[in-house]
Symmetry: C2
Subunit: 325 residues, 2 copies
């Protein structure tokens, strides 16, 4: 049986690229470029909470890195390095090889270098810390939304939630869409190019991990504003084509987590530039609402112009959903 | 029942000190001082592997931060920021309050600012990532030991292992020493002042988490050298006073983990300066061996000058011991 050090060497130790010192010492050494801020985010994925026992290890490896890349994207930052701490119930070499494959595939996709970590015995738990750079002062936080700003969402939120329901034996998905939706759940593609392109344009931004409304509520709270969403602008059609009814689609779109799309605010004067961006980074963007001056107000404008209040249905009471701080 | 966001706000959210942006966004923003390298280490503590169910939460909070502070100390680096990802089986407010107390007490002791994290549901798992700084080129790695260098160990390794044996119902400790030994296990004091003072003096260094011999083997491997330890120089007396026999004490000293003492090499010409350091940082230092030219050779010189080979008894086969990479 290989020792833990052999496992590390076999699966996680690769020559340092940009790091001054990578895997294999007490700590890693890297250099942050002059004029840049260091940006740091950590995420923990737990078996039984964030993924099911028996989940595909390569997909897990990908997702373990991807969810933190998404956090950096939401700050308009470039990820550069990662550490990875994992707890495993056994030393299944094939599992580790596939997991490492997924980790390095995601790292390669987003130009991230794995520089250190920790491997230990215990219930399966995967914790990545990503750190990167952003030119000083150019990070986009949750706090800058202004009344009158448009509210935008990237891609197609709601797919991951519908895929999960399908996988758990609930409402099934149409065969033509199933693969796409499941891919959104298991292999999320962080919107990094979009996040970086929004430097200087977005007034506030975050990635949707806990559901559009729940995450929007964070922007409202930090920015001390309210929001009105327009039902006619919600991208429900692709979800409905997945085989669910309109109300089910709306609920998945507004409340479903795990899509890692970017939700951001921007001045209406920037609509043209933002639409141009969508093409440049090959990412559909949907303008779905407007920022209100009244702090904490959250409403949906329906067909006839009437508004009904929205509860932040993405909020969960310590249910094991991701909740970064 | 408070939501996870309320729990975070209550226990982990404090005003940013040196960070440009701390807890509460997708990622934290900090600045690395010009001319410094960023130093990063991550450690995961798992219930049932690194601590027992029912362990004191305040001590756990302290130790979660301390073990990574120790890694940075072993690089001669100054810790500055931390992220903390935790998985908990329930939202026991009193547990969290005590745990956070321990975290912040350790952070305060070593001038570390908690800048972000993740809280989720699952088997108890505590993962800290520490970020710090070292003037470029002054980090001490595991790779610089040279034949003829002295081998030094700080403080009193072996106490944590003997305390654990005692707590698990094995060989009991003398009443007069018990408290001290248990404190070494539950509340390790990283040798940060010592580590930083050894910049420019130590040729190689690491912290002893897996046992003196096992960790020394890492230095030997990285530095491509061997080592001879001198039995007469091993600080066994304090362990024997703990109530164990000499051979038991030797085994705890050479093989016991979790003490977080610093093991380092330095040229014999520096003996005077290093002894002076010991006083300056109020840390006993023991010169216990010498570096040999023959790579991988590891031996103990006993009474009459004879040498017997030592197996690296700190090595464990994926037993759940800490194994940083």
């Amino acid at each position: 049986m290989p020792s833990e050090f052999e496992l590390i060497a076999r699966h996680f130790q690769r020559p340092a690229r940009s790091a001054d010192l990578g895997v294999g010492d007490d700590a890693a050494l890297v250099r942050v470029s002059a004029g840049n801020q260091l940006v740091v985010s950590t995420d923990m994925l737990v078996e039984g909470t964030h993924f099911l026992a028996g989940a595909d290890p390569r997909q897990l490896g990908w997702k373990t890195i991807a969810v933190s890349v998404s956090d950096l994207a939401a700050m308009a930052a470039q990820p550069r390095w990662a550490t990875l701490a994992i707890s495993l119930p056994d030393d299944d070499d094939a599992w580790l090889a596939a997991f490492a494959d997924g980790v390095f595939a995601c790292c390669a996709s987003f130009d991230v270098e794995l520089v250190g970590g920790d491997t230990t015995r215990g219930p399966r738990n995967l914790c990545a810390t990503l750190f990167g750079e952003v030119p000083a002062g150019q990070a986009v936080t949750r706090a800058g939304a202004r009344p009158g700003d448009d509210i935008w969402i990237s891609g197609q939120p709601g797919r991951a939630a519908l895929a999960l329901t399908d996988l758990l034996g609930g409402q099934g998905l149409a065969a033509a869409c199933r693969q796409d939706f499941v891919e959104a759940l298991h292999g999320p593609r962080p919107r990094l190019a979009l996040g970086i392109a929004l430097r200087g344009l977005a007034s506030a931004m975050l990635d949707v991990s806990d559901g559009l409304l729940g995450d929007l509520a964070h922007i409202l709270e930090r920015s001390q504003v309210g929001a009105r969403l327009f039902d006619r602008l919600l991208p429900l059609q692709a979800l409905i084509e997945g085989g669910v009814g309109e109300e089910h689609a709306r609920r998945a779109l507004l409340g479903g987590g795990d899509d890692y799309e970017l939700l951001f605010c921007a001045a209406p004067s920037l609509r043209g530039r933002i639409s141009g961006l969508a093409e440049a980074v090959c990412t559909p963007l949907h303008r779905v609402g407007t920022v209100l001056a009244e702090a904490g107000r959250l409403e949906l404008e329906v067909g006839d112009g009437a508004c009904r209040p929205l509860a932040p249905i993405g909020f969960r009471h310590f249910t094991g959903e991701r909740d970064d701080y």
